[in-house]
Amino acid sequence: MTQPALVLSDVSKTFRSGGRLIQALSDVSFQIQPGRVTGLIGPDGAGKTTLMRLAAGLLVPDKGNIEVLGIDVGKDPIQVQSQVGYMPQRFGLYEDLSVQENLELYADLQNVPRQERPVRYKELMHMTGLAPFTRRLAGQLSGGMKQKLGLACTLVRSPQLLLLDEPTVGVDPVSRRELWQIVYQQVQNAGMTVLLSTAYLDEAERCDEVVLVHEGNLLGQGNPQDFSDEVSGHVFQISAAHLGARQLQAQLSHAPGVLDALIEGETVRLVMQAQAAANPDILLPGESGVKITPLTPHFEDAFVAKLKTRPDRDEQKLDLKVGISGQIGDEVIQVKNLVRRFGDFVAVNNVSFSVRRGEIFGLLGANGAGKSTTFRMLCGLLPASSGQLAVAGHDLRVAAARARGSIGYMAQKFSLYSNLSVLQNLRFFSSAYGLRGKRQSKRLHWALTTFELESYRDANAADLPLGYKQRLSFAAALMHEPEILFLDEPTSGVDPLARREFWAWTNALAEIGVTVLVTTHFMAEANYCDRLVILSDGEVLTQGTPREIKDLARNTANPDPTMEDAFITLIEQKKTAA
């Protein structure tokens, strides 16, 4: 056996943040083998970035030892830094320098001999598809191109070990696929070792080996297939003749032996405990027309199964009384030929869609596709350049404030006051929406009990665990019983369990007639929506139900396409058409 490329032995690291100690990593030990792509998989806050920084010698562990390519990182970080390539999550591109100048800088810093440079530059530019843009300023590249340039800069002197910290986060599926191709080329042609971290569980399947981390602990290491195999035979697709997917999921998640129930279009994906059988009579007593077919497990199924077998959290039944006036099925959001320009740049180009009452409607797209701009216009925060916008019957051009009264909004980042207590936050947001007196105290009580925030009522929002922060944001958005809920990237960076909890609430709201508009760059989450539009470069790529969209990519070679496959197919069709 050859010498491992990276060895961690009993590594622990804690941070102090506002008087609290955060255990970023506790006693983590593993090693990775040379010449392979190892995935470091885990949700945000799992300790992935800390681990990468420790390996690059940017942090010093509290305890334990790290060896990179046989060098002790603690003793000789400079030696390590001249052997590894490290691409931080927000790669340090100088946006006011051109593509070529960024390359030159990193070539200088990495001491690439001058005579080797022209060949290497050409190779990298060709590989990343950036060759036509060498003179363009890095700040003017798209998100995917920036990421590829970052990778090119890291690879300018072919490193032996490549550390990539979430290189694909927020990147469009096409660029994502190209990034993976570049990574594999490096491994195959240059014999490079790659450690790549990601929060996208579907990317685990592209790695030779995965290391699973969760809340600073190592959950396991191995071939991704081996993980999936653990739940093989326990994953099913289930549908019932007289139940919608949402009701089906709600019932199934409380059924005995069920680890995970996930909406996939009109059906539900089910992960069962190893010893439990998928018996329709036990799962859905009294239902007729139940169809159960076994499925090949995905990595995510295995991951969730692994997490769920740990001490379980109580799933509570939500009591979400929200007063809804009007009929299910009315069009509550209408967008017609919406355009938004920023100078010469057209951020949103001729976008039209409509959302019906009680629907979960998704806006899907990569960073920079125009999701947030569309969202801001719908909230009345940004005027449209042209086009029509109506929310809950109010034209946003003339009655933005009135329209906002019927909207609940949950922003992408945790946007509550972190130095106010839970109760103070809720009180403030409810009074901002005009709630006072009896009604306010009733809603406060409702929020604290429904989201189990009672025990945290006097704690500062900043000190809440991540999952509870999300609950608080959600509760704050619902204080004034809005009939329309806008959720901007609500699940970005939360762990798969918290994500499921979140979707359970959203589904419950939609069931009682609340209209939900949600943006996401997780292609897989599109499955939870009733209908969606896919945006790309400010334009509508396609819209429809998840099944309709996936059908676009369905063919004999790929009988069961994912949303991502559909996206890539559409982009390619658009390119060939142009």
Binding site: F15, A56, G92, D108
Partner: protein, 376 residues
Amino acid sequence: MIANTASRMRLLGMIRKETWQILRDPSSIAIAFVMPVVLLFLFGYGVSLDAKHIPVGIVIEQPDLATRSLAGSFSRSEFFSSVLYSTIQEAEKALDKRDIEGIVWMRNNFSANLLSGRQAPIGVLINGVDSNQANITRGYIQGTWLAWLSHYTEAHGRPLPMPVTLEQRVWFNAALSSRYFLVPGLIAIIMTLIGSLLTAMVVAREWERGTMEALMVTPLRIGEMLAGKLIPYFILGMGGMLFSVVLAVWEFDVPLRGSFWLLTLSAALFMLVALLIGLLISIVSKNQFVAGQLAIIVTFLPAFILSGFLFDINSMPAPVQLLTHLVPARYFVAILQTLFLAGDIWPVILANMGALLVMLIFFFTLVRIKSRKRLD
């Protein structure tokens, strides 16, 4: 040798990158070249600490030759613009409204007393709200009065008995023009802005945008990183300094009596101190907003208030005077004012340069200790 070329390549790479960034960022050019022009014009033309045309009211209760002659010497003086009143009540009203800053009151028995050789007092009332202005006004009124008196007595053949006469000469700034000492001092302010504010913001920006993390994992040594930052901004700052000197000498006619090379040398010394403070600030605060605020509070405001550029250090309370010794601009302002107005006065220059050198060594050591290639 190989290590040397590698090191030189990295350093040159850093310097080239900084230069590109400076050239493309309009705000750094603005701070280095537009700011000096604005400040120099503001302080050179706009602000004057000299008292001229102070509005005073002259109250003449009984007009005659003597009172008219005294009033005439006030109205002829360029220090005053005088307004005549016939009753003190009218003049007091004007003083209340701040139409005038002071009152010279000649009572109706003024001439009679004067002629009879008795004491002939005049009443002087001064608005003391602005104490500095009040002092100046009082001084000028007294001077004008005394000048008139000696002239008057001489003309009437009764020379005033004066055992000591004051024969004053003002050195270095003979015209007592405040511009002459404001403009050289401004150069210290401008260099503080470029050295500390700009540098602190630029380094903090690297932290904010995540470029620092990418730089740190390259083989770049910490010394190379610091030098790569210092050298371009040093050149920029010296450029700003030269530009200000040119403006001072040619546009504002401030004499440069000392040697230019000594000026450059001391400016270089001060520039390094300012840059090091800027770097230190950016190490402490890793975001642009805090770095900017900190740089203004720690460097710019003290340079403005406590350096002797605008306010005389000797007239500050003793504890504040002690505090001024911690402000590097204080030493540089002293050097600048000496070199521009007095010339190469070696004891002054050497003492102040010595102080700057001590500061340089202190901050350099601190930056070296504080900056590590680590994120925690």
